[in-house]
């Protein structure tokens, strides 16, 4: 596997000196981060390192206190989440957040909301164009669910009735339904067994190769990270303490220290 340096290729997503403070607490401090197009990159770090806060800034839920976020050549700093999603950045959540009382298929249809045009009056009158759009969106939902491997017989089940692994699939399908350029996955293998994690790892590569989607991953499972990432950024206490390819990062004393404590890092050297 090639360990591309982050300077290769056009950056689709780039942050410059991004900082987020909540009152006196600095959750993310001065993080610059670059994601080349069609790459798979990871953000790792111990619990509370600021990874999810960082994701929330990328997707517009938090406005950075300082710093600039650029996506596909446009500054999106402080933009609204739905607008950022429409530009082509979709995400999943650490604790799955499906629309519980909607079916798997309807969940994926909501994911296409930003690609639809039907308005209030068009929906009431149900113009031919709206009708056609509904049909297309429904078909696309079925395609996406099949793409992530959800059995057809489960497509019309309520999301809460699905098994955990299937809920993860639906959440990814919902994010994919908008044909994003970048997909942010927040701990997608949490709660999965090793076999399921392997499947997901393979699936991420497939997404990148078949659909050209750039993937940014927050993950704890080292096997997944080392197996799939081309580039890894390590956060600890909100600061970027290391970055590079998997082998570099694995050997970095600061990373070992952050994960295992100072003594362990001394012993390792």
């Amino acid at each position: 596997m090639s360990e591309t340096t982050p300077t290769n290729g056009r950056a689709i997503l780039e942050t410059t000196n991004v900082t987020k403070q909540f009152g006196g607490l600095t959750a993310v401090s001065d993080v610059s981060f670059r994601v080349p197009e069609r790459s798979i990159v990871s953000i790792i770090g111990p619990n509370g390192a600021g990874k999810t806060t960082f994701f929330n800034m990328l997707t517009g839920f938090y406005k950075p206190t300082i710093g600039v976020i650029e996506f596909d050549g446009k500054a999106i700093t402080g933009g609204r989440p739905d607008v950022i999603m429409k530009l082509g950045m979709a995400r999943t959540f650490q604790n799955i957040r499906l629309f519980a009382t909607m079916t798997a298929s309807e969940n994926v249809m909501v994911g296409q909301n930003s690609r639809m045009k039907a308005g209030l009056f068009g929906s009431i009158v149900r113009t031919p164009r709206v009708r056609k759009e509904e049909k297309r969106v429904l078909e696309k939902a079925a395609e996406e669910l099949e793409y992530v491997g959800l059995r057809r017989s489960w497509h019309d089940q309520l999301a809460i009735n699905l098994a955990y692994g299937d809920q993860r699939r639906v959440e990814i399908a919902r994010a994919l339904a908008s044909d994003p350029k970048v997909l942010l996955l927040d701990e997608p293998t949490a709660g999965m067994n090793p076999q399921e994690s392997d499947q997901l790892t393979a699936f991420m590569r497939r997404l990148r190769d078949e659909r050209g989607i750039t993937i940014v991953l927050i993950e704890h499972d080292m096997k997944v990270i080392m197996g799939v990432s081309e580039h890894i950024t390590v956060l600890d206490h909100g600061e970027k303490i290391a970055e590079g390819g998997p082998t570099e990062v694995r050997a970095d004393p600061r990373v070992i220290e952050a994960y295992l404590g100072k003594k362990a890092s001394e012993e390792a050297h």
């Binding site: 839920f61 739905d82 959540f93 629309f99 994911g111 929906s123 019309d156």
Partner: protein, 418 residues
Amino acid sequence: MSAPADEPAAAAAPAPPGKTGMSRRSELPWWVEKILVPVVFLLFATMLPFFFDPGSAFISTCALALAYTVMALGLNIIVGFAGLLDLGFVAFYAIGAYTIGWLGSGFFSQVGNEEGWHIFVSGFAETQPGIHVNFLLVLVAALVFTTIAGMLIGLPTLRLRGDYIAIVTLAFGEIIGRAAVNGDELKLSGFPIVGGGLENVFGPDQTITAGRQGITPVDKVDLPGMDPFKSLEQRPWYWLALAMVAVVLFVNFRLRDSRLGRAWIALREDEVAAVSMGVPAVKTKLLAYGTGAAFGGFAGAYLGSKNNTVNGDQFQFFFSIFILGMVILGGLGSIWGTVLGAITLTFINFELLPRMSDWPSKVGLDFDVSEINFGIYGFLLVIMMIMRPQGLLPERRRKMELTEDAETTDDTLYTARA
């Protein structure tokens, strides 16, 4: 009455993988929900007045029930679909009612040199002073006014959730209600800047509302090609209300199964996820408030004309709860449930309770049942929440969800004892 659905389908949910899961429509097949029930309901409802006297009080109550159904269906969009708990729906009733009070009565008696303004009206109203606008145009005006009011109330609630939305909407309903009662003290000529201009048009003593005295009489509904309605002939009132219900039902179904309906339900289920999936929260919520309010305004304009008065006392907090009770009784988010809830509560309020009014005296008690109406609704709702928390005709989604909970939580292992 229970839902006419095939119950066993619900049990299929935790089916082993490979077995066919429950079909999306199997709870109520689409043709039952959208063709059979509406056709039967509308046919029956259309024929109903022929079995009663033209001036029957019963048909009048039925017309009232239908008007309340229109309101409840509007509130169901806000509370049931979008999940925004609105305790001030009476505001939209008030605004709709005042629309016809202002535009269809002798209230503004000074306009047009005391001869009045008349726009597409015929018969008696044409000869009267004041502003008299055709009922259909009044509906359009009510639509515009209430939609604007709906969005105005929506704006301050956009950053709020749950209970806080309830408090803000409650306050809004109270403000409108108080303004209606005390509007007879407010003179148009007293307004800053525009007061002088208003005085020239409306006269020096013109007030905003007639307070507790009420604006009366109000123009009877006047549809093109027909004579204006009469108060002793109840059938046309009934059929008009039925037609309004039919239109509002149609709009409700179309919206529920559309991009917008899905966005409402997604916001209700998980706002963060909905927004991150590209649902614009502000626009989507405002559309819910706006559409729901518009239906409240339609019904308000109709009721103003039917009641022949627009009185500040009609717009009290209890009315918001009355309509909300209909939605909850029927099943939050369920369209047919809301219709059933509205009809049930109206009949309890206007037919059943009045008939019970002398019961206490028969057993030697000295009070009137109408004094404890609220206690009776409260009791009904409590019973309802215990026996059937999902409502009389629950929304398909909630029904599936609640059935599921009962099965998966192993509640048979432990039963709470009183």
